[in-house]
Amino acid sequence: MLRKVDINTVLGWLKDVEGADYQSFTEPEFTVQKLEFVPFLLNFLREQSSQVLTNGPATPAKTPSHPRPAARTQGFSDKLAGRSTSSGAGSRSASRVQLFSPAPSVSPGSESEAAGPSGLSGVSAFSSPSFSSTRTPSPRLPGSERRCGQRVSLGDYMFSPPENSPNHQSHKGRKKGGGSTAVGGQLRHEGGRGDLHSNEAGRWEAGGRRSARGVGGGHTRMGEQVSPPFAGQLNLNNLEDFPPVGSSPISPATSKPSRRINPTPVSGDRPHSKPKTCFTSTPFQKASSPLLETEASDGLMTAGSSMRLKEERELLKREKTKRAQQVASPLLSALDPCTPTKTGARTGSKVTSDMPTSPEPSKVTFSSELDVLVELYCTCISENLVPNIFLELFFVMQLLTSWAHHTHDNEEQKSLCAANTEVLERCYLRQVHNCVYFAVKVLENQFQLIAHLDKCTLRLLAENERVACFSPDLRDRLTQAQDRSTAKLSPSASTFIHSVPFQPATDNRSNFFSDKAFHTFKKQRDVFYEVLREWEDLHKEPGWSFDAALGGRIRGIMSQLTSAGNHSHFARLFLKQLVQVCKGPRPSSSSVDAADADLLGMLGADSLGRLKRLEERLIQPHGVVGPCPPPSFPGHQEFFRDFIQTASCCQLNQHLQDSLCQQLLQLDEVSILSPADEKQRFSSVLLLARLLAKFLGFISFFPYQTSGRPSRDIQETSVALRSKVTSLPVLDVCAVLNNSIRRKRTILTVPWLVEFLSMLDFIGPLLLCYRTTLGSLLLLYRKLQLNRSEEMCYLNKLLLVSVLGWLFQVRRDTRMVQLKLGINALCLVSVCSGEFRKLLAAFVSGSTARSGGIIRKITPTSAELKDTPTAMRSQQKLQVDLEQAFFHNQPPSLRRTVEFVAERVGSNAVKHMKATLVRELVERGEKMLRDGLESPNSNASMLNESICARLCEAGLEALAKATKYCDEKSPEAIRVLLPDETTPTVKLSWGHASKMTLCLLCEALVRREWRSKYDRVIKVLGSPKQGSERVMCCPPHCKHNSPLPSDILIEIKVHFSCCN
């Protein structure tokens, strides 16, 4: 598939040619592997866009290729060479490679390839003669399907008459494929890890064949000849991969040149003239090329093909090894260069040099091809074929926010277009217009996914002028989604760090062996916090070293611990503090932190904190890290990691491990009844589990960490050693995972397992227990397809996909062990969306910078907050803080009690209200209504209005009564439920607290009840007598000045939750 794209790009200018290319290419590509296509496509897109983004020189146009058969082998070799060179030289290519792990996967699966070649050869035999001239077309099968329309037109021009007919057939094929897609998907799932590849590949191949058949006029014959049995599979595959896209009609002009195209692909000329772009960009071309070649050579080629395959494999191996060396970070680095939005240099350059071209829909070129690309791309995304969804989203955002400095590009492109000759390398995404067009289209297409982003991101997207310009509809949908969005980035970042409260039950003298131990621990606690505070103050200062500054004191604590035997106490304190400080989801870096906070709105922040953040924001450049950060210990986690490292106290570590394990397993068992109702609880459990798991992983694998990958010999010996010695791993991950899969609790277990596994040392993944676990996870990952409606809900799947994708991206070695699957990076949702936001925000600031000359501007987000009265806000925040503070120093059971009482009493109060006040009210209203209606000159709507007003007043009364009810009842309950020792005042304040929440509750419920009943009455009364008019107009009138019940409920809930 990628090839198709490439072909498009390479040959792309001539649509006709493309179409032809698709056809011919598709076949070979499919034969190559489905997996290959995706990376190819993605690589292609990236290459194109990267050109735009980086403002690189225009790629040289390809010269028409020479006769294929002869040239092909050459071309192939050339391609190979090109690849190798590209991989070595071009950072981009390297990045791509990294990006797309699938490529390596392809190579490993020799079986698939083998299968592919055979199929291909057959196909090629058929197709090649006519189409062989255009290698590329065949690999592009998927495209061909979608592009049937194009193809047809193209084919007509380009190919002999049979082609046209093939096109039609191809359409049919698509449909069939669509039906069969599911099957294909199943097949994939069925396949084991290793098998998966092969299966997929096989399908792809099959699909390729089929499509080829369908496409080419001669296709039918060819298909028959080649592999009649495969056809079904193939179709399915094709469909899956490439759901029928609206065929984009090819412009007649473009179609004409098709013939030319045919020659272009293969020629030996290419390597010289264009080689860089084509080969570098698409690592997979090789594979395709061999296939193509094989096709071209027809029967002759089979032998050659095998040879080529070998070569390809070798190349792939090389790439793999390279990747392996590059380990985790490459993605990021790769991404970075692409991100156009980085403010610093970029903006500067923009401002200084030429005015960036602002994208205009009217200037979009190749829109039909872009549509095709969009379809391809979106299919890949929705089928989870993409290595990492968030990576792709990130990429799309980059496109959306890209700047092109050179306006001359357009001209060039135009000229190029006119020339037609060098189309392939001409990038569809070369111009901002096209990039934005593409991005917006993809966003439209993937709206379901986008809609799950957090509010701020949505808002930034919706406010993006480019989105508005290219698709007002999308903007509107985004705006709506924004209102619906409940996703939040950082729920409750409390303003100050809580300490671990001293609880007499666990911390007083009776819990220690001796007075000495007790007093030692007293000192240790203070030293610990002293160290923590010092770290907070100083760790960001340049030249500050953790060990130098704090090492002495930490080791002092440790030695005291050892002499006093206090390890368990200290471990408890340590972990509690860790949880206390780090539990909230924190963005990966401090700058992110600041930016996020800004974007979130600085609602609750006190002025000082706000000022600080503003300052930071103004001073620090936005760092766009990319959506797939390596595992890290952000924020305060760093302190705890360094502490453990510096302390390097085996006793402490053992205690930490023990209690981490215990807590994790407990958390894993947490019963979450209905996720919908306990979303917050779930997320807090999840976050906590992930935090603990990360540290457990860190401590567990710390002893084995090496600075680099050990040599093979060492690997083997240590595997042998550890597989025996570590027969009892810290945590039986296998069992945990299997258990959770069985019990369908993966949504909780997998995310924290992933955190744990991300800490694995180099040898770790080779050990049996981790290997099997990783294998299971991989299987799980392959099964996840966001658009399939299964029992798992969308968001859950999204979470798993992102988490797993992240793991496999970040720890390539884990993937390597498992072999190759072409999984790529994903990243944690929060981090990702943070990145998205940064991108978008940077865009905003960039665009303002253009006009105003100020490099960065505060995003308008914060402006809105001004209208809320600050005094009120801070008051409310203070209350929330107070509540939090109150419960923080009390045993957790208190909160549960209070919540319980509040809910029950509240519920009773509501029942009471319903039975008495509300009914009375409603009856009164009903009577008034009837009376009013009986009077001769009554105006129904006026009447309703007045009654509504009166009832509203009465409703307030009811509210007061409900409050009183709660006041009376709740203290009683609280008194009974709380332990006797608790001092009366505390009880009282509990009572107060719960009463208050209760009252809020009642208010909401009363109002809700009242309104619903009222509505009902109105309906009953109104519809028979006055028709529906009245019903329609009344409710709106009712709504004045009373808050929405849901809002109040939310408020209440928040109230409860704040108590946590």
Binding site: T486, K488, P491, S492, F496, H498, S499, V500, F502, P504, N508, R509, S510, K522, R525, D526, R533, G604, D606, L608, K679, Q680, S683, T868, M872, R873, S874, Q875, Q876, L878, Q879, L882, E883, A885, F886, H888, N889, G906, S907, K911, L959, T983, T985, S989, H992, A993, K995, M996, E1003, L1005, S1046, I1048, L1049, I1050, E1051, K1053, V1054, H1055, S1057, C1058
Partner: protein, 285 residues
């Protein structure tokens, strides 16, 4: 009891006392060398012999610019060495300073007595006063808290519960002062200068924070304004009992009043951010 008057004089005395005590601390070493001690002692002996009824020791102290109580201690220490032949224990020394009648030499006892009662900063008497002032302010603090209807645990209760560090007051329900949460209150019946504050921070305040979270320190006799720089980290300084205490229930009640639905909404906006909320949660009715 006229608190304000007492407070003013006390502030004055205390501030002055602290300053002089600082000076003493800095200069004490000058008087501690055995040679000095011997010189003072011999001078005392000769003058006391010459004028047995005169407060010779006090005069000597003033002449030497040394705290009379300290002078008394030095001389007594030296005296006891002659009597017992060894270095006297601190308890004996202290008890004799507190109760001069225990001193075998009556003239010395008189002199010692005069010294201790005439020293404004040192000595058992002053210690007693200081202690009393501290106690009084703690009582004052407790009264104020009760007045405000705040529930709390005092130091003694905490100690019996086994707390390892005990501030004067732990509020069972935290309050907010000037926007800062307060879990505990420490009463300091002294002036907060940088030296003593630093010591207190390290020995007490941070320890409290480490266990109970943010809190409030009241320096009844004032403090150097620049020291109040840890507010955001959880240590708030005041020189009187705060007047604008925000309690949990009080404010909530205000919020709740149906007359202000609009503010309610604003408030909600603010809160929603704090806790991830699922809208539309329904109650079990």
């Amino acid at each position: 009891m006229d608190r304000s008057f007492e407070t003013y004089t006390a502030v004055y005395e205390d501030a002055e006392g602290q300053i002089s005590s600082k000076r003493i601390k800095r200069t004490i070493s000058m008087h501690r060398s055995p040679a000095d001690v011997e010189r003072y002692f011999q001078r005392y002996l000769s003058e006391a012999e010459a004028r047995p009824t005169a407060p010779v020791l006090l005069e000597l102290a003033n002449e030497m610019d040394l705290s009379p109580a300290l002078m008394a201690r030095i001389i007594l220490d030296r005296f006891l060495q002659d009597v017992d032949g060894g270095i006297p224990s601190k308890t004996v020394l202290n008890s004799m300073l507190k109760e001069p009648s225990l001193i075998p030499d009556q003239i010395l006892a008189n002199n010692i007595y005069q010294c201790t009662i005439n020293d404004c900063c040192y000595g058992p008497l002053v210690d007693c006063i200081k202690h009393a002032i501290g106690q009084e302010h703690e009582v004052l603090l407790r009264d104020k808290l009760k007045e405000q209807n705040l529930s709390f645990l005092d130091e003694n209760q905490l100690r019996t519960m086994g707390y390892d560090k005990t501030p004067d007051i732990i509020l069972e329900v935290p309050v907010a002062v000037e926007g800062h949460i307060v879990h505990w209150i420490e009463s300091k019946a002294s002036f907060g200068d940088d030296h003593s504050h630093r010591t207190y921070l390290n020995e007490q305040f941070w320890s409290y924070w480490n266990r109970f979270g943010p809190g409030l320190v009241i320096y009844w006799y004032g403090f150097i304004g620049e020291l109040d720089c840890q507010r955001d980290r959880g240590i708030l300084l005041k020189d009187c009992f705060p007047t604008d205490i925000v309690t949990l229930c009080h404010a909530t009640q205000q919020e709740r009043t149906p007359e202000a639905p609009k503010e309610d909404k604003e408030w909600k906006k603010g809160i929603r951010r704090v806790a991830d909320e699922k809208p539309g949660k329904k109650l079990n009715v």
